[in-house]
Every structure is written in C-alpha cells, then in structure tokens.
C-alpha cells in the first residue's frame, strides 16, 4: 500500500467512526425521547391534573400538588432572579465593562454556573431551613434563585455587549442620560437575546431536583403555603420513580413527560426567537 492509499484508508476509518459517534449520540436521544413519550402518553390523563397524590392502589391519584408547587417555586425564583440578573448583567456590560471588578464578577459567575447544585441546596439548608426549623417552599425558591442568577447575568452581559455602540452614542448625542439610554435603547436592542436567556435560564432551573430535596422537600398534598414544604414535579418524580409501586411509577413517568415537554418547549421557543431575529 502506498502512503497515499494509507492516508485515504485512515481517513475513511476516522470518518466512519465520527459518523458512528454521531449516530450513537442521536440514538440515545431518540431512545430517551421514545421512552418518555411512550410511557408519558400511557400515563397521562385528566386525573393527573385533577387529583392530589394518593397512597398506592388508590384510584383518584394525580400530580396536581406537584404541578402547582412547581409553578409556584419556579415562578417565584424567576420573578426574583430575572430582574436581579438583568440589572447585574447591565452593570457588567454598561458600567463595569473591562474593569477588574467586572471581570472578577464574570469569572465567578461562570464558575458558579457550573457549581454542583446540590451544594447550593446544602447552603440554603444551613441559612434558611435550620433557622426556620423546617423545610419550606421559600427555601426551594432561594436555592433556585441562586442557581438562576449567574445564568441570567452572563447572558444579559453578552447580549447587551452585542448592541452596537453607535446606537448608544446616537442617544447620548441627543442628550439622554445614561440610565435612559440603557433602558430605552440598549435593552430594546437586546430584547430578543435577553428573552432567550431568560427562557433558557428558566428551563435550566425547572429541571433542578437535587437542591430541592432538602429545601422545599415534598408534600403529597396540595399546599400553597410558602412557609411549609411544597411538592415539585422533579422531587415527586424522584420519590415516585424510586418507589416499588407500579401506579406511583406511572405517575413518575407522567411527571417526567410533562416536565420534558415544558423544558424542551422553552428551549425550542428560545432558539426560534433568536433565529427569527437573525433573519430580519
């Protein structure tokens, strides 16, 4: 075999292996999606939205408490985390820019974004659950807010950075004060990007389970009291799936399906917003 033939052969082998890797990756994706959909569709019915959790073997059993708990916990974390994250990101992009402080905050947020979420749970346990004396929805909200903050901050920072400085200069030239330039010009220019960042941030924390295990804990019954433990889809899914009862496991799959539809939906909408923005 000549050197060239050898190179061509090796090339073919590597190309085949890479394509195989991609097929393996996609294979797992479709396997997991298939299982989610087939188990989910089988498990989903109106009862799930109508009834609270019930002991195994009980007919009228559902996920109402988990669905509402999930909405409350993730919703509150979003309400607190998003404005704070946007303001902090605004500081980095518009005021701090390349300063030492801004760069440090960027680095630390990047690291915190990848920090194990269970550790955040332990931290919130120490500062909220121990002083209160018991688990509470508020503790869960605190944990998710801390996880969401650096995500929103970094995307806002990046998106504001993309707004052309000529837009700012034009507004300044008209005599607008800086805060007005930021709110009326810069935010408007970065609207699509920030919105996408928010959707992806919410999708990220909506799937969090570990930090909720010992903050908001769980409740098999409907509760809207923020000072008491509250059910969430993820923790309910964990508890039901690891239980030995088949009807609980079925509810676990229903929860998994609903959560995946929600998270994948947010991801797809987020991408579409960016895409349509780019085309224009």
């Amino acid at each position: 075999m000549t050197a060239t033939q050898k190179r061509v052969l090796i090339n073919k082998i590597v190309m085949a292996l890479s394509t195989l890797s991609a097929l393996i990756g996609l294979g797992f994706l479709f396997w997991i999606l298939f299982i989610l959909v087939s188990n989910g569709i089988e498990a989903i019915n109106w009862d799930i939205f109508m009834f609270e959790g019930a002991p195994p073997g009980y007919e009228e059993s559902g996920l109402k408490q988990a669905l509402i708990g999930q909405l409350i916990i993730v919703g509150l974390a979003t309400l607190i985390g998003v404005p704070l994250g946007i303001l902090a990101g605004t500081y980095l992009s518009e005021y701090g820019q390349r300063s030492k402080l801004a760069e440090t905050i960027r680095d630390i947020s990047d690291i915190m974004m990848s920090a194990p979420s269970i550790v955040i749970g332990a931290f919130v346990y120490a500062i909220v659950v121990i002083p209160m004396g018991h688990f509470s929805a508020l503790a869960g909200v605190a944990a998710l807010t801390i996880i969401m903050l650096p995500i929103i901050l970094r995307t806002t920072d990046d998106m504001l950075h993309l707004v052309p400085s000529t837009l700012r200069e034009a507004a300044f030239a008209l005599g607008a004060p800086k805060y007005k330039v930021i709110i009326q010009v810069v935010y408007r220019g970065a609207k699509a990007g920030i919105l996408t960042g928010i959707l992806l941030g919410v999708a990220r924390v909506a799937g969090e389970t570990a930090p909720l295990l010992f903050t908001s804990f769980n409740d098999n019954f409907m509760s809207t009291d923020l000072f008491e433990p509250m059910a969430s889809l993820t923790v309910t899914m964990f508890n039901y799936a690891t239980s030995p009862y088949e009807d609980w496991q079925r509810l676990g799959w229903a929860a998994a399906f609903i959560l995946s539809v929600f998270i994948l939906g947010l991801n797809i909408i987020g991408r579409l917003i960016l895409l349509t923005k780019k085309v224009k």
Binding site: I111, P177, E208
Partner: protein
C-alpha cells in the same frame, strides 16, 4: 434630577453585581462553619477513613470520595471519544443541511434534566447491566455509563464550538496541499483548537463530578470501596442526596456539610482550571 436617578441606577446595578461575589463567599463560609465540628472531631482522618456508620457516630468520606473519582473517571473515559467523534462530525463532516438539525438535537439532549436520565437509567439501563454483568445492576459501572450519556451532549456541543473557531483559510490551505479530511482535522483543526477542546473536556469533568440525580438512582448508596464495579457504591453527591434528610445528630450533619464543602472545592478548582487556563475569553473592546 436625572443625575440622581442616573446615580441610583448605576449604583443599584453595581450593588447587585457585587452581591454575586458576596453570595459565593457566603456559600464557602457557611459550609466551612457547618463543617467545623466534623473537622475538629475527625481531622484529616475524614478523607482517609472509609467507615461511614451513623449509628456509631463514625464518619469517613473515603468511600464517597473514591466513588466520585471512579464514577467520573469511568464516565470521562466512555464519553470523551464519542463526544470528540460527534464534534468532528458536526464541525467537519456533516453536510450543511445536516449540521443544524443534528447539532440542535444534541443540544436538546443536553437540556433534558438529569433526574430523567436517572429514571431512564434505573428502569431501562439497570436491567441490561444486570443481564450482561450479573449482580444487582446497580453500582459504579451503571452510574459511570449513565453519567457518560448525560455529559456526552454537553461535551460534544462545547468541543464542536471550540473546533468551529478554526479559520476556514487554514483548513483550505491544508486541503490545497492535498490533505485528506482527517489530515486537516489532525494537523490543523485539533492543534488550532487544542486549548478550547481541553477546556471543554475539563468543564464536562467539573459537571460530571457534581452531577447528582443521574447517578443517585443507579449508584445504590453503599459506603464501601469495592474493586468490583458491579457492586453498589456511593459518591459525594449521592451521599448528600440520600442522607441529608435522614441526619439526626450534629456530627452527622457536620460530616455531610464537610462532604458538600469538599465537593464544592473540587468542582471550583476544576472549573477554574478550565476557565483560566483553557477557555480564557477574548472579548472585543466595544
């Protein structure tokens, strides 16, 4: 008047941004304080002792630390070649029309919450491992594989992004010299994006070591170091997830907090290395 509002706005944003630093410092301080009792009681023995017996008030983290290291190592060994393969496929091989759908699919796979990977692992993967290797099907091997599948999409996406930074003109020059695709990848793309690829792999490592739910389902939470990978084992996050709500004494709690602190320090170190040495962002000046 506008001057005052301007000032308030600027300072409010600065204050909130600085709060991120304070929260980070607060997390370390609180975990450290809560671990003090355990540190004073066990000292360095905590990390070398493998006996974890809550009923005897004896806590050693060796099994959990080793479990974290072994399961993460296993996951990395399995995921790295496939992830690099996927990245090469996406950045160099795939037809333009395939790139977007396959790339988005891989990214969506990364968005699925880890609790679902764990559940899928428990119901669909554990039986396969049980049939193939015997034992309960729960243990280090299953945990390593599920973890590998879980970090694969993230690893592939970041590696692809690193490879995509290679300027076309460099690749075109290499093709013009008669290089095959693999020649170009091996001699141009990989050397050019080496730092980014290593950074991507280390970042994935940082994620894997702190990943909780994907492994909690399939690890078993048994505090024993066993050379047999099909035996139930534990890791730091698995211990935390399983035992935090069960702890009933101060020393038990303190030991769990020390585990959390160790995990945070490990992950902070790993991610910092990835960020500062390999993924240093170059931001254009506005």
């Amino acid at each position: 008047m506008t001057k005052i509002i301007d000032n308030i706005f600027a300072n409010a944003t600065r204050l909130i941004a600085i709060a991120i630093l304070l929260i980070t410092a607060w997390i370390f301080t609180v975990l450290f304080q809560e671990s003090l009792l355990s540190m004073q009681t066990f000292g360095l023995d905590f990390v070398t002792e493998s006996k974890w017996a809550p009923n005897l008030e004896k806590f050693g983290a060796y099994a959990a630390i080793m479990g974290s290291i072994i399961s993460t190592f296993l996951a990395m060994v399995l995921a790295i070649p496939v992830a690099i393969g996927v990245a090469i496929f996406l950045s160099e091989i795939a037809h333009q029309k395939l790139k977007a759908p396959v790339g988005v699919s891989i990214e969506l796979l990364a968005a699925i919450p880890s609790v679902i990977y764990g559940m899928w692992g428990l119901f669909y993967f554990v039986p396969i491992i049980r049939d193939l290797f015997g034992g309960l099907g729960i243990g280090m091997l299953t945990a390593g594989i599920v973890l590998a599948i879980m970090i694969l999409p993230f690893m592939a996406a970041v590696t692809r992004d690193a490879m995509n930074t290679t300027p076309d003109i460099l690749k075109e020059s290499a093709y013009a010299l008669g290089g095959t695709k693999w020649d170009v990848i091996k001699d141009v793309v990989i050397p050019y994006s080496k730092a980014g690829i290593i950074g991507a792999l280390i970042l994935a490592l940082g994620r894997a070591i702190g990943e909780t739910m994907a492994v909690t389902f399939v690890m078993g939470n048994v505090h024993k170091v066993s050379l047999d990978l099909t035996q139930p084992a534990t890791s730091i996050p698995v211990t935390l997830a399983n035992e935090f709500t069960e702890a009933d004494t101060d020393l038990y709690f303190s030991s769990l907090f020390e585990l959390a602190l160790i995990l945070l320090v490990i992950s902070f170190t790993i991610i910092s290395i990835a960020k500062f040495y390999f993924l240093r962002r170059k931001r254009s000046v506005k």
